[in-house]
Symmetry: C2
Subunit: 318 residues, 2 copies
């Protein structure tokens, strides 16, 4: 409909910036046809089930306008991968649908670097997508594999299970604030936690035999844990002081639910404590017990003496 006379068009953008991301992994991942045809063709291993997730990242909504192109690319894929991590899936391939206001070669070159970084980190290729003209908007679909019947889901938490969280909660929020303030605040080391979140794929893979349920906490720890409670018809006590965090004590109740932390919250029987400690040590990722699944409804954040503490609500998309 809107036809521009620009000579540079979708074809050259795809060829130059999107056609060779993770080529080395195509064969291992069973990709028989990749970027450039009408569609991509994938041979899924017969012993595996495929786990897919989709995430859209929009400029000014999910990331600030001033963020670097390579970080926008990395982050857009990482936030989708985080859902695979929660399921215990190993990344296999991704597609990228991107709307761009204009063709800016410097920006696209940098964007490509971010795609290459995350493709290499998780050894999975970009196999297709769509390039359109519009406000900057990136939709990434990731797919991964798990042995048939083994995918960790939100369903499965039982009364008495302990609740765990990976990493530290609130770092991304501190980082985003430091980024926006552009000052060399003491929290500037956390900017990377926002701009280049680490999808906890390694942890997820190890949790396949351990976790009874799992979710990523991108919308906020308490809000996302509540999803697990709703699905399983249970409640949860979370001890505020046990939540691993770099947030100053005075702000803890405000920031633990602030979202953008691509960490995993999962439940497991108490008997797995030693196994979880070993996973944590082997991977160098903190995994802390923060509470317990109880009879009832909803998540209560409590003090050591079980007094309820009010926390700010999580991310709402509208």
């Amino acid at each position: 409909m809107l036809k521009s006379q620009d000579k540079e068009n979708e074809f050259t953008v795809i060829r130059d910036y999107f056609s060779d991301i993770g080529l080395d992994y195509l064969e291992d991942q069973g990709i028989k046809l990749s970027v450039g045809d009408d569609a991509s063709v994938i041979k899924v291993p017969p012993t595996k089930e495929q786990v897919v997730s989709v995430d859209t990242s929009i400029e000014g909504v999910h990331f600030p306008k001033s963020m670097k192109a390579e970080d926008i690319a990395y982050r857009s894929v990482a936030v989708a991968l985080s859902d695979l991590a929660a399921c215990g899936a190993s990344p296999a391939w991704f597609t990228l649908a991107i709307s761009l206001k204009e063709i800016n070669h410097k920006w696209l070159s940098n964007f490509k670097k971010g795609l290459q970084d995350i493709s290499k980190e998780f050894a999975f290729p970009l196999i297709g997508g769509d390039t359109t003209k519009g406000n900057l908007c990136i939709t990434v679909q990731v797919a991964g594999y798990v042995d048939i019947g083994k995918t960790i889901t939100r369903s499965g938490a039982k009364i008495g299970d302990l609740i765990y969280v990976t990493g530290t909660v609130g770092d991304a929020s501190l980082g985003l604030r430091a980024f926006n303030e552009k000052s060399s605040s003491k929290f500037s080391e956390y900017v990377k936690k926002f701009s280049r979140p680490k999808a906890r794929i390694g942890v997820g893979e190890k949790l396949l035999k351990v976790a009874s349920s799992s979710i990523d906490i991108s919308d906020g720890l308490i809000q996302d844990l509540n999803q697990i409670c709703v699905v399983n018809g249970v409640g949860a006590n979370v001890f505020l002081k046990k939540i691993p965090s770099n947030v100053p004590n005075s702000e803890l109740a405000n920031l633990i639910n602030s979202g953008d932390d691509y960490e995993i919250c999962f439940t497991a029987q108490e008997s797995f404590q030693d196994t979880i400690d070993i996973i944590s040590r082997d991977l160098g990722v903190p995994i802390k017990c923060i509470g317990e699944i109880i009879e009832g409804k909803g998540v209560k954040v409590v003090s050591e003496s079980l007094n309820p503490i009010q926390v700010k609500s999580g991310y709402k998309h509208f």
Copy 2:
């Protein structure tokens, strides 16, 4: 980042409008976990390869602002399905990432109707997605299956193969013009060709043993056929008069390449002519021979006496 205090949020939108599209098909399509968890889980049949395609549809770019919500929904999925049709794949599932300016229940109800229509037509479910706040932008990923090694691709056309096209070329363009003019023009019957394009899935499935190469002509017949020529290092002669079209003769050279026709252009050996006639008759879809693959480079549109005819170039995305 942008947190609204609206009570209606992503969760209720997903529950009310996206969680039950094609539920009846989940089991048959091997979907073990669908909308509502971190990710979807799919068991791909072991004798099949999976074909995936992604298409983004943006208001004001890919469809007019005034288009009905149910048509926007239907069309956004149909344009992605058209790529599966070109590959000969049978639809298995789709995901939907949608950005909305606001939550408008009437609009969303109508949008849901369009999703239900296409889900039912092709017996495949919506299994996941993402709902975000932004300008209206819809990214659909579709997946389908083909017997291992049988997917039709752009690659395979050989010198001497005949070139075929399904349906009539230019209808969508005439329909869009009639839609924009809002008059009861003689082309108003074609509006549906633009707003509810028929993905040629049935034809694609039958072409698996027939076509040597295939592409959908959404960017314009000649431009897309040229993609086949480039990939295979061949040229093509297309006879203007043989192109099936409702476009007035005086406009034919301008409109045959106008895009938005979700028809299939494929190549096949001459010996398949009878088989192709039978497919066409059985499915009630016109399939016409329009030219021949030749030695050389590029697509030449020619008169009956092989004189070259200039045609307008196809859709450019930027």
